[in-house]
């Protein structure tokens, strides 16, 4: 399979750019990647700005109307669009605000300058454009990023892992954090992060998104039995999963 090196580009929307930093970090141990692809646009790492890319990696959620045109322009240029990280994938932490009246949020953040800033409920980029593949996580996992790029080079589309985090955690022989009096979203959240939070004794916060068939009711009951009030359970589920939860609950952003 001899092909021309595909040109790839990175773009960011509402995000902390931590996923792009992870990309840069992954290059340290995978320099061959630079021989396999040509990076033409990567604000975080270089000043050139090529516009003739085939694969676009997009970090960040869409959080204002004016971002939609920019997303659509990327979609038109790219053969393949990849959502990079929890914000692009799920709306991320940015979507926490979707449960509050938008005006209150704007005033809270920007005070009397609220009118100067455009905003609307944060959403995954898949709500604006068609997304071909997703690399989940906050931030993304560097090895998963590399594996996904290899799949794209092979002409494949990487798929989100369907395995729940519990599997990965057990394979590592972690002690379940529930036995340490903590709560964890592991049973309903996608694996692939090497169970990094539970490995350090913290419960999963859900940054990689819900598996396709999460048993929400059963897990809520487990959390309640571990002493969490309804309100605390909602907050736990809302850190990364607000957008998915509001969808499951058929609730519209305020």
């Amino acid at each position: 399979m001899t092909q021309q090196k595909p040109k790839i580009a990175f773009f960011d929307f509402a995000s902390c750019e931590g996923c792009q930093l992870t990309v840069i970090d992954s290059l340290q141990t995978n320099l061959e990647l630079l021989n396999a692809v040509e990076i033409v646009n990567f604000r975080e790492a270089m000043s050139e700005k090529g516009q003739d890319y085939q694969i676009a990696f997009i970090e960040g959620s869409c959080s204002r109307k004016s971002d939609e045109a920019r997303l659509q322009a990327i979609r038109e240029q790219a053969d393949i669009v990849v959502a990079l990280g929890a914000c692009a994938h799920l709306g991320g932490v940015n979507a926490v605000r979707n449960r509050q009246p938008l005006e209150d949020v704007r005033t809270y953040v920007y005070g009397n300058k609220a009118d100067w800033y455009e905003t609307y409920p944060a959403r995954p980029i898949s709500q604006v454009i068609t997304v071909d593949a997703t690399i989940p996580g906050c931030p993304i996992d560097r090895d998963e990023f590399i594996a996904s790029v290899k799949m794209l080079l092979q002409g494949r589309i990487p798929k989100l892992p369907e395995t729940p985090l519990c599997v990965e955690c057990k394979l590592l022989e972690n002690q379940c954090v529930y036995t340490m009096g903590k709560v964890c979203l592991g049973p309903i959240v996608r694996a692939g992060c090497k169970a990094i939070c539970p490995s350090f004794g913290d419960g999963c916060e859900g940054c990689r998104g819900l598996v396709s068939e999460p048993n929400m009711e059963s897990l809520k009951q487990v959390m309640a039995e571990h002493g969490m009030a309804d309100q605390d359970i909602s907050h736990k589920l809302d850190l990364f999963l607000t957008y998915q939860m509001m969808n499951l609950e058929n609730e519209e952003p305020k």
Partner: protein, 282 residues
Amino acid sequence: MTLLKDKIVSSSLYVPVQATIRDIRALTPLEKVFSLTLPDGMLLNHEPGQFVELSVFGVGEAPISITSSPSRSNGFFELCVRNAGDMTGVLHQMKPGDVVGVRGPFGRPFPMNRFLGKDLIFAIGGLGLAPARSVINQVLDERGKYGKVIILYGARTPGDLLFTDELEEWDRRSDVELHLTVDRPAEGWDGNVGVITTLFSHVQVYARNTVAITLGPPVMYRFVLMELLGKGVPEGNIWFSFERRMKCGVGKCGHCQIHHLYTCKDGPTFSFAEIKHLEGAL
């Protein structure tokens, strides 16, 4: 002569042999026939109803039924593959001369010697023609050993019919009865429209001497079964080939299990008599 089967016993049952793609033929936008040769004159030596584990190295491995009949394997064999997943997607981009991996042949073949002298009725849906073709051509190459040969074949649209050149050939033969149907007709289609069970009214069989071979999507099996039982075909004479996730091919990985049976080694061919007590099998 080295057999492919001996190869996997010698080093590791998971190490495929590197086969070369000698020819690729597109049947529809989704289905292609890959003709493969094994290295060093090695023989596949399969029987109708068996499958191989096909690898695209670096991508993965999947079970694929063998579509060529043993009677027509002159140093090569054929696999008809739908572009349906990860591995098959990459396979569809490959060219003649490229190398793929093969392990097998695996699975219990159809018991052809029990079919001798019987009237054969094939009820085939969609991609089911791929494994069925292996049986049909074997039968046609030893035509005198069997009674009537009746082939019922249904596809979604006329454009989805596979192996149309061979369908025409079978249709021309006086010793084969071929009935086609499609779910949705297209311009120029003057044949039957409807699901495969609508073809059964055209068919006359001597039920007790009939063997039915049913190959197609899972949803089809129950309906075809009711027709066959309704015509009085004995339970032990109604044969299926089951699709399951036969990841390892050798009854170890667990994915293809139906109750206590492993589809990959106890099947994929089963008679209704063998599986009728197994809920969820059909």
